[in-house]
């Protein structure tokens, strides 16, 4: 579903990614593991078109998406949840969800606010609260829900479990498995093996902008734990 070949990216003069290759299938969760500053977030931002790629190819569902502006990439079916959540603070929860709305995709049950509130019940009571008035964890849930409103084929999650209460993390892991079962392709960046273990099908270890190891989590783990 997502195919990345030789991806390089830089912020101005500072090169961050040096030729990444990886791919993820529909119904699969790929975890990008890596320490602080390894380039996980940059990878996801580059896929989303928020950081321009220098070189290489990105394909979504066979279509090339590198070089497209972010909104076109989003409409091609890529959803994105940034690490700092980036909720629209002046919009209500309901409106935050509506901003993400895109037409349903053939062959998949469309996401509606109602369906999402079933996935994240704690948002139910605060539908008309302003985004800026929510706690960090509540914002995280809203950010994930918002990206699902676009009915994406593939979802990029940047450290989604960060800042969530353990019980919500449980719930999130369950939700991710549900999304996976629904055929979504999920690429997720994570430093925390505990959470990664619960959702990952495969993993790539990123170090200083390069892929150091890839395979199942068990195979990659030793290189990371070191």
């Amino acid at each position: 579903m997502i195919e990345v070949r030789g991806l390089t990216a830089a912020y101005g003069r500072a090169e961050i990614l040096f030729g990444l290759d990886f791919e993820a299938q529909a119904g699969e969760v790929l975890v990008l593991l890596g320490r602080n500053g390894a380039g996980k977030s940059t990878t996801l931002k580059t896929l989303m078109g928020l950081v321009p790629s220098r070189n290489g190819e990105v394909r979504l569902h066979g279509e090339r998406i590198d070089g497209l502006p972010a909104h076109r990439i989003a409409r091609c079916g890529l959803g994105y949840v940034p690490e700092d959540r980036r909720i629209f603070t002046d919009l209500t929860v309901r409106e935050n969800l509506e901003v993400g709305r895109q037409p349903p995709r053939a062959g998949a049950e469309p996401w509606t606010p109602e369906r999402l509130l079933r996935l994240f019940p704690s948002l139910e009571a605060m539908q008309s609260r302003l985004g800026g008035r929510m706690s960090g964890g509540e914002q995280q849930m809203l950010a994930i829900a918002r990206s699902l409103m676009g009915n994406p084929r593939a979802l990029l999650l940047d450290e989604p479990a960060e800042g969530l209460a353990p019980i919500v993390v449980d719930h999130l892991a369950g939700a991710i498995r549900e999304l996976k079962a629904a055929g979504l392709c999920i690429v997720l960046s994570e430093q925390n093996l505990r959470f990664a273990r619960r959702v990952a099908d495969r993993a790539c270890l990123i170090e200083r902008g390069r892929i150091r190891a890839s395979g199942t989590l068990e195979e990659v783990q030793p290189a990371y734990a070191r």
């Binding site: 928020l50 909104h71 989003a74 994105y80 980036r86 629209f88 603070t89 993400g100 918002r146």
Partner: protein, 607 residues
């Protein structure tokens, strides 16, 4: 006043509130979404007026009005997509420079197309007469305007709060990148919003033609009114703009009705200052979350390299040796360049490291000039005493105004500084007995031993170089660092014991002092001062210098000052449409070097 005439004044106020609202709503909308302070909004209004006047004889008034509005809207959309769109990632306020260049270009375009004379528009067919209200006659057309304001308010409110498009606009207002990552085409959205805002301005202008003739001066007059309305109402709040338009419209109408038309301007700005001090976000405004995904990062301030210091020393030496080789007009021009460089550097001190965007810095330049001038003129002080004391008047003014200003931030602060500058200007302009009114003060000449061009040049060089060096040095001091800290993250600064407001207040006063020094030097170099020394265009010149040179660099304002002063001198003397030429040059520079001239050089040499 009788009851009836109060009523008529009130209705008059309502009618002018409507047209104020149209222009303010567009300005507020554009700012809310694109964070561009559109200085050209008044020019769009003016364009609407002229176009409607030009079209009306052919197609009739009622068709001319919408056509003119649409044409202005289309022009706005084109200007956004060709010009501003390239600048959203540039350091903040650079777009301001571009819109200011548009003011110049549009003004000369109107001059070229329609000539310098005022043009009277037609009456509105069907509404040309008057109705009798409480025994007095009141124009029917004004009743139509009174009804139009709320109608436009309702439409806009519905559009923004009840439609999906409006919701996307509000989302993109806060976080462009995130909105686009959710599939929102923000470019299209921004163009549409800019077009809509321009259309409203054009409509406001076109609807005005039965009431007043189309004139070239209307652009800046309207823009400063619109700024006041937008800020009093709360940026980005359309209902707020409506309320504020009512307030300001009524104040104007009653000032005129009661025979205090001289006080109109002051009253207007006093109301604004009062509202902002009591409600720093305007009547209906909200504290704004920071915009994300906009603007360029400022690089850290590095200590200058040995090479850079040597370069500056060489420049100083060259300037000091120049009179030996060359005299005459060059020295006069260079004197101007030097004191405007000091003015620009003092403005940069609060705008750059301080993050306090002052749109009214000329007030302190002017206070310095008037302080010195009055001492010489009224107290027969010597030049030395006047030069030393003048800047203190400026510092006093800056301390007084700054106390209010630092309670605000961002564009609110900018508008309040503008308001204070306007108040200072109108005092200088109207207080004939002391300031000499519009004639100003003449005969402020330097002491005999400094009266030669060369001697005065040396005085200016020494004072300005010392002032600039001091201001630069302070940027590297703990004070300068703390100032930048307060700008970067007030939250963090507060949490590590920094009293951000007190620092900003001190910086504002400090910068005011040096602007005043430049002003005092200016007074003696010209021999006379007039209210022009503290008018809006002078403040804008300061902004242009800082932004053109590069706000994120230390030396930028000096190059900006040199460039603009030279350009104004060279072009204004030789060319008919000199405003358009300067506007064009500014546009070209902005597009070519969005980091400013000095920023561009730094990028080149850092490579």
């Amino acid at each position: 006043m009788s009851y009836a005439s109060v009523l008529i004044q009130f209705l008059n106020g309502l009618a002018s509130a409507s047209s104020l609202f149209l222009i303010a709503a567009g300005l507020s909308l554009i700012f809310g979404v694109t964070r561009v302070v559109n200085f050209a909004h008044g020019s769009l209004f003016m364009l609407g007026m002229y176009l409607a006047v030009a079209l009306a004889p052919g197609v009739g008034f009622w068709l001319a009005v919408p056509l003119a509005a649409l044409a202005v809207g289309a022009f706005g959309a084109v200007a956004e997509s060709l010009l501003l769109r390239r600048l959203y990632r540039a350091p903040e306020l650079l777009q301001l420079l571009a819109t200011f260049a548009l003011v110049l270009v549009i003004k000369d375009f109107a001059l070229w197309a329609w000539g310098p004379e005022d043009i009277l528009g037609p009456r509105a067919p069907g509404l040309a007469g008057a109705v009798t209200i409480a025994g007095q006659r009141f124009p029917a057309y004004d009743l139509f305007l009174i009804a139009l304001g709320p109608a436009v308010l309702g439409t806009l409110w519905f559009l923004l709060k009840r439609t999906r498009w409006g919701m996307l606009v509000r989302a993109a207002t806060q976080d462009r990148d995130m909105a686009s990552a959710l599939g929102v085409n923000q470019k299209g959205l921004f163009t549409a919003v800019f077009g809509l805002g321009a259309l409203l301005a054009g409509l406001g202008g076109a609807l005005q033609i039965p009431r007043e003739p189309a004139t070239l001066g209307v652009d800046l007059q309207v823009i400063s009114d619109a700024f006041v309305v937008v800020v009093v109402g709360g940026l980005g709040s359309i209902p707020g703009a409506f309320l504020a338009a009512l307030l300001i419209g009524e104040i104007k109408s009653f000032c005129i009705g009661l025979g205090f038309s001289k006080l109109t301007l002051v009253a207007e700005f006093v109301v604004m200052a009062a509202v902002l001090v009591l409600r720093p976000w305007g009547l209906l405004g909200k504290v704004r979350a920071e915009v994300r995904g906009a603007g360029a990062l400022e690089p850290p301030l590095r200590l200058p390299s040995r090479g850079a210091l040597l370069g500056l020393a060489a420049l100083f030496a060259a300037l000091a040796l120049l009179p030996a080789l060359h005299a005459g007009y060059t020295l006069v021009l260079l004197t101007d360049v030097l004191l405007f460089a000091l003015f620009a550097v003092s403005l940069h001190f609060i705008m750059g490291p301080g993050g306090l965007h002052s749109f009214g810095h000329a007030a302190y330049f002017g206070l310095g000039a008037y302080g010195a001038g009055l001492l010489v003129h009224k107290a027969s002080a010597s030049m030395g005493a006047a030069l030393l004391a003048g800047p203190w008047l400026a510092a006093l003014g800056a301390a007084a105004f700054g106390w209010f200003c630092v309670r605000l931030s961002g564009v609110y602060l900018a508008m309040l500084t503008l308001a204070f500058a306007q108040i200072t200007w109108s005092i200088a302009f109207q207080w004939d007995a002391v300031t000499g009114g519009s004639n100003g003060i003449v005969g402020i000449w330097p002491s005999p031993w400094l009266s030669g061009k060369t001697a005065y040049y040396y005085l200016t060089l020494a004072a300005c170089a010392a002032g600039i060096a001091l201001l630069w040095r302070v940027c590297y001091s703990p004070f300068g660092y703390a100032l930048r800290a307060g700008r970067d993250s007030p939250l963090r600064a507060d949490a590590i014991g920094i009293d951000v407001r007190a620092l900003q207040w001190a910086a504002f006063t400090f910068a005011g002092f040096f602007a005043g020094l430049a002003g005092a030097l200016y007074a003696f170099s010209k021999g006379s001062i007039s209210p022009e020394t503290l008018s809006i265009p002078r403040s804008v010149d300061g902004l242009v210098m800082v932004l053109l040179g590069g706000i994120q660099t230390l030396t930028g304002p000096v190059w900006g000052a040199a460039l603009l002063t030279w350009l104004q001198d060279a072009v204004a003397r030789g060319v008919d449409y000199w405003r358009a030429v300067i506007g064009g040059v500014i546009l070209a520079l902005v597009l070519a070097f969005p980091q400013g001239a000095a920023g561009f050089l730094r990028e080149r040499f850092a490579r």
